[in-house]
């Protein structure tokens, strides 16, 4: 096994760990905000580490650039989605919580 392949395996495995963490967090965390937190780990780090791992195998510059661009798109989409869902949930939750408390 060559030196480059070892790097690929290390980074890809690290990415897989973050995907696992994201899934477990999504399943186990108690409320929507902490689940959102778990989700972004998979979005940003999981995909990112796998992209970095696969970059070691890429033979052309443009292919590598494309993969990095995919990751940056996922980063932009992930952070925006997280903000949007979080805001949506936040605007809804306090009202219900306060109503429950007053009753």
């Amino acid at each position: 096994m060559s030196f480059v392949n070892a790097f690929t395996i290390i980074f890809c495995l690290a990415g897989a760990v973050f995907f696992l963490a994201g899934t477990v967090g999504l399943l186990r965390f108690p409320d929507i905000f902490s689940r959102l937190h778990a989700l972004t780990k998979a979005d940003n780090l999981g995909l990112g580490l796998i992209v970095i791992g696969l970059l070691f195998q890429v033979d052309s510059f443009s292919t590598g650039l494309k993969m990095l661009f995919i990751w940056s798109l996922a980063l932009a989409a992930g952070s925006n989605a997280c903000y949007a869902i979080g805001r949506y949930a936040f605007l809804r939750t306090p009202r219900e919580k306060t109503r429950e408390a007053s009753e």
Binding site: A76, N80, A84
Partner: protein, 348 residues
């Protein structure tokens, strides 16, 4: 094919079955919609494994992008409070909890006739599919012929050569079918004409930033896919869906693209693809050739032109689907209707 390849394929198959079953048996509409989106994603993986990246690309654009948005947007109608909902609908969703998810009664096949009919239909379909697989010609049918004539088609990618040159007729009619589907939507609910809908919620700073950043990327990606169709998977349908995504994004941000563009331009855009095919077909006929037969020295350029026209039309049509359904729901949901035809209830 190693053992791990087989394991992957088996997991994909099992996941597809579970997702299909779950989509149908879900108790919440949102659950059903998300399962269907996941089904589309898994389907894309299945196409990848079947060595059909062209179909996977279409599945990614249509299944994950357009269809998900259409489904989520449609669900808004069911999330409305029940008293303003349409009571005439037999399977009206009832709101059970105070949550966003709306529950519905599980469909029940009490009637034995319905069960037997459905079962027989499924068996017949299974028989037809098995027979079709059995009747597949040896040696890939027309594959050899297509590969032989690839150099005369004007493109290097065999799928594009078949879709746009050898079987251009099919693609022409597909664009026509899409146009008919849009006319059908218009007919079912009355022509709304995309009148201005006040969006009460202006896009936040982050959404504005996202639109400024993402819309150009989408347009560029559409152009890239269109150009790529010449030598690799890509093409008009995928590019068209990406163009539609730009319109959907703008509309969701409260920028009513369809309302600002003159009606004539919309009509032109919707029919542009179908018309371009027709024009080139007639030119071929006038030059004493078969319908849609391109001159081989110009074939590449003609295909690119036709594809671009088709992509624009597909984009307009797919966006019109969304814009129509979106504005319609808004008008019935908020209770303020701008025009007389918009009051028509689709269930009547």
């Amino acid at each position: 094919m190693t053992l791990l390849d087989q394991v992957f394929d088996i997991v994909v198959c099992l996941l597809l079955l579970v997702l299909a079953w779950r989509t149908l048996s879900a108790t919440h509409l949102y659950q059903s919609a998300i399962f269907f989106i996941a089904f589309g994603l898994t389907m894309a993986l299945a196409w990848v494994r079947l060595a059909a990246p062209d179909v996977a690309l279409a599945e990614a654009a249509i299944g994950a992008g357009l269809l998900g948005v259409l489904l989520v947007d449609s669900l808004r109608v069911f999330a409305r409070p029940p008293e303003t909902g349409r009571d005439s609908e037999p399977n009206k969703p009832e709101s059970r909890d105070n949550d966003v998810t709306t529950s519905r009664r599980r469909p029940q096949f009490n009637s034995a006739v319905a069960s037997v009919t459905a079962g027989a239909g499924c068996l017949f379909l299974a028989y037809v599919l098995v027979a079709a697989i059995h009747d597949l010609p040896d040696g890939g049918g027309l594959t050899a012929q297509a590969a032989e004539n690839l150099s005369r088609s004007g493109v290097e990618h065999p799928v594009t050569a078949v879709l746009l040159n050898f079987r251009g007729f099919d693609t022409w009619l597909e664009v026509g079918v899409l146009f008919l589907a849009m006319l059908g939507i218009f007919c079912a609910g009355g022509l709304v004409g995309f009148s201005e809908t006040e969006n009460p919620d202006p896009p936040g700073p982050l959404l504005s930033w996202l639109i400024r950043g993402l819309a150009p990327v989408m347009i560029l990606t559409a152009a890239y896919l269109l150009w790529l169709g010449k030598l690799a998977p890509g093409g008009a349908f995928q590019a068209g869906i990406l163009l539609a995504a730009v319109g959907i994004l703008l509309r969701l941000a409260g920028i009513p693209l369809m309302d600002r563009v003159p009606r004539t331009v919309i009509k032109l855009g919707l029919t542009f693809g179908f018309g371009t095919f027709l024009v080139f077909g007639i030119i071929a006929l006038l030059a004493d050739k078969a319908f849609l037969e391109y001159p081989s020295e110009w074939a590449g350029e003609v295909i690119l032109l036709v594809e671009a026209a088709a992509a624009i039309s597909i984009g307009f049509t797919a966006f019109a689907f969304f814009a129509y359904l979106n504005s319609r729901d808004q008008s019935t949901g908020n209770g303020d209707t701008a025009g007389q035809p918009r009051e028509t209830n689709p269930s009547q």
